[in-house]
Symmetry: C2
Subunit: 307 residues, 2 copies
């Protein structure tokens, strides 16, 4: 759906600020708690949380993260799911979200309703109250940025740091071709899987795959080592080859390091019991030098921002 | 300073993603905690906080909240201060900030450095760690949105709800003409004043003045009452008349309701001891009908978004 309209009466500008805010609270429905725990005051008040919290922020921008081929509802859901994927990557669960919207006055009310309803459905599904936000006007743009707060689901949060020489590299699901097959907005954030992995002592470091495995793996690779991959072990999506699996991005899968001495068979068995329908692949190892025949992700490039 | 550059070598695009992220961490300096408590992982980890938290989000957009006449450093500071003002309005103190930046690839690195250094200086001044963020590219735009987390400074947070018939209306500082005199980026958020007022039992409701007193007062006015103002009591900034004081906006002062039976003289004395250099004005009262001679803010309009 094209977000812009040429008819003034169909635009958010015709609605005006007060009616727009009333409308978006209606569209958010039960995803939007009552003030002061939601929209309607200078700040939203959040109930106390025990232990450390997590925070992340990610946007969706028209022309970059979505286009006319993506339904408005799917754009709203994608915005939240991108952020949920970041929480999943640390083994967290969501507690609250705030939304900053920047839009042209000619955005159609119908598009915006779809966006908010899609966001609200996804927010209810994952139990995320949308507690606040801001709407600002700017010519020629449609961008939304969501800040997501979360909490740990267990005794530890998994970070990108912690992998060691010899550790195995695992990845969930399949990689590559996300943009062509619509996975980039249809994916399910790996929250349950991330929480489960954070409780497994043999898992040492984790992150989500968003800019392409080749690029993202750099952040997981311990200094003084290389990520030696096995090309045949890469779980390529139908229609995607090894290059696509390494470089396409927007996979929203989890990549993690498993201790060298871990019982991989036990890990696999436990995984299959917990997530029988989700593929788990051991795709390589952190080694001192690149062995002959290994796949070097350093020869592929992921998505580079600001280019 | 004009944020766009025509010379590729001076642009953020020439820097590229990796060097840009390294640069902005350098520019943020001590305002940016080490990972996982800051930038560098999928989420930032926040230390535990006791009691309820506060959250708010506000942007600055080129062409709307600032132009070439505002120094880049002042833009960065303004972004944080706008959000601090929302925290002040509830009697809160800041605990952490995350920043979402959307920018054209032709933004000059020099401008961005100024922006981040201004933000960092302000963040250190108010003790706000900048724990995370995101940078996304979009043509023709320069926008930054900051989400601020906070905590209560005392036993209660002050909301907009709570004023009653007969309550007095007070405002801090002076109003009007903010855009012409540069107050809109030079202001100091009323954090100390907000925290002080939240501890005074006679203060029933509070908010900050950002869209103009006439418009903002509507949110503070109890249903079934009107805000009857005294024109001569309005603290107009030099060069601003009553209309400007009511409608200009971007004052970032606090407006609050004081219980009808409160000892106003005692409140004023205590205020002068605590804040000898900040004006405190009783500007009117919530009444059932508009008395003859009273100033009706309903006949003025504040800043309407999306028009």
């Amino acid at each position: 759906m094209h977000p812009f309209t040429k008819r003034f009466h169909d635009s958010v500008s015709a609605l005006g600020e007060e009616k727009l805010i009333a409308a978006l609270r209606r569209w958010l429905g039960r995803a939007s708690p009552k003030s002061p725990f939601g929209i309607g005051d200078d700040c939203a008040v959040l109930p106390p949380v025990r232990g450390p919290q997590l925070i992340t922020v990610d946007p969706v921008i028209y022309g970059r993260h979505f286009d006319d081929s993506v339904p408005a509802r799917a754009v709203g859901a994608k915005l939240l799911k991108r952020n949920l994927s970041d929480l999943a990557a640390m083994g967290g669960r969501p507690t609250a979200a705030v939304l900053a919207l920047t839009l042209d006055a000619r955005i159609s009310t119908a598009w915006l309703e779809g966006f908010y309803r899609g966001l609200a459905t996804c927010a209810r599904q994952y139990g995320v109250p949308v507690v606040g936000g801001d709407i600002a006007q700017a010519d020629g743009i449609l961008a939304a940025s969501l800040t997501l707060l979360g909490a740990a689901t267990g005794p530890r949060v998994l970070t990108r740091a912690g992998a060691r020489l010899g550790d195995w590299i695992f990845v969930t699901g399949k990689l590559g071709g996300s943009l062509t097959c619509g996975h980039h907005f249809k994916f399910k954030p790996r929250l349950a899987e991330g929480a489960w992995l954070a409780r497994r002592a043999e898992v040492r470091a984790m992150m989500d795959v968003s800019d392409g495995l080749a690029k993202d793996l750099r952040a997981l690779t311990p200094s003084g080592t290389v990520a030696a991959l096995t090309a045949s072990a890469l779980p390529c999506r139908a229609g995607a080859n090894v290059g696509a699996a390494l470089a396409d991005g927007e996979d929203y899968e989890l990549v993690f390091a498993v201790a060298a001495r871990a019982d991989l068979a036990a890990l696999r068995r436990a995984w299959r019991r917990a997530f029988p329908r989700t593929r788990l692949s051991c795709i390589g190892r952190f080694t001192r030098t690149m062995p002959a025949g290994a796949l070097d992700p350093g020869s592929y490039h992921g998505y580079e921002h600001l280019r």
